[in-house]
């Protein structure tokens, strides 16, 4: 079950730098670990997070096996106009999650 949380300000002044924090619940299995019987545990990680602001991409992250479980990604953008922030995570084994947050710019 894909579980994600986004924390972004609901209101901001035009031109203000806003901080956005995202948390995704994921085990981030590296693909380097082995079971007690020596079999390799296959890699299962989130590989990408893309954030678009009214359809324009404002942030993209590529994730690799060294990321901890439940990755918290925080970034900033400039509040330009009222609208929607869309977040899209994708990863191994068809992992996909989306979340959105609306923002009012005054």
């Amino acid at each position: 079950m894909a579980r994600v949380v986004v924390n972004a300000p609901a209101r901001a002044k035009r031109g203000e730098v806003i901080e956005i924090r995202t948390l995704a619940g994921h085990a981030m299995e590296t693909g380097f670990r082995r079971t007690q019987t020596g079999e390799l545990i296959p890699r299962d990680i989130i590989t990408q997070l893309v954030c678009t602001y009214n359809g324009v991409e404002v942030f993209r992250a590529e994730l690799h096996p060294a990321m901890a479980a439940n990755p918290l990604l925080s970034f900033t953008t400039v509040a330009t106009e009222s609208g929607t922030l869309e977040f899209k995570w994708s990863g191994d084994n068809g992992y996909a999650a989306t979340q959105s947050a609306s923002i009012t710019v005054v």
Partner: protein
Amino acid sequence: MERRQRVRRDAIGFHHGRLRLFALSIAVLVCLFSTWLAAGEIPLAERRSGYEFMSRETRAMQDDEATGPALFSLLDGEALWNRKEGPAGASCASCHGGGMKGVAARYPKVKSGRLLNLEQQINVCRTERQMAAPWAYESRELLALAAFVGRQSRGMPIDIQSDAATAPFLAAGRASFNRRQGQLNLSCAQCHDDNWGKRLAGSVIPQAHPTGYPIYRLEWEGAGSLSRRLRNCLTGIRAESPAYGAPELVELELFLMWRANGMRLETPAVRP
């Protein structure tokens, strides 16, 4: 050996007996004084939560209510709290509608002669009230519900009563805390009473106040109970760990919580 003894006897001369008595009493005093110094319990004013030994970044994770790593545990716990379970068709909320404010600050607790920690109490409720199967120790569900219940006491002082019913368990817990064990022959007190604030490899030794369990531990990349943490420590000193739910483990939990009486609960805390 023979030679040395003779030399000492010669040196002491005719005051031998009296001097020996004097030396012995000095030795006893020195021993008493040094054990008092070494095994000193932490004065109340110097008690520190593990939070205060953490890096700025890790503190920020704990303080972040909206996107902290323990958030998923809390959300799961809330769902479980309201979910009807077992043939009794009752949820936790059906009985405990008023919430559980302050409850986690009073556990482990003696109930009809048996010492129970919060996780065990949840399972007692499940089996005796909801008529449902108990959850396994360290299962996602049990930790989530314990975190959800614990969260309601966040900021409240730990309040373990040392009444007659609790006293024997508390004494047993104190004894385990001070008992040397394992291949490294260390007691809990030697690190957490006598050497807190110093470093063990790269990590600061905290005072072992269980103020935020169940915790989200970065090393585990997940949630875990106080029992799990204690078993970790015991493995570290190469001692045999009691099984989850074993009385000696819960007694130690009781002693540690009693030792932290008055400190604020931080559940669910983040620890490195």
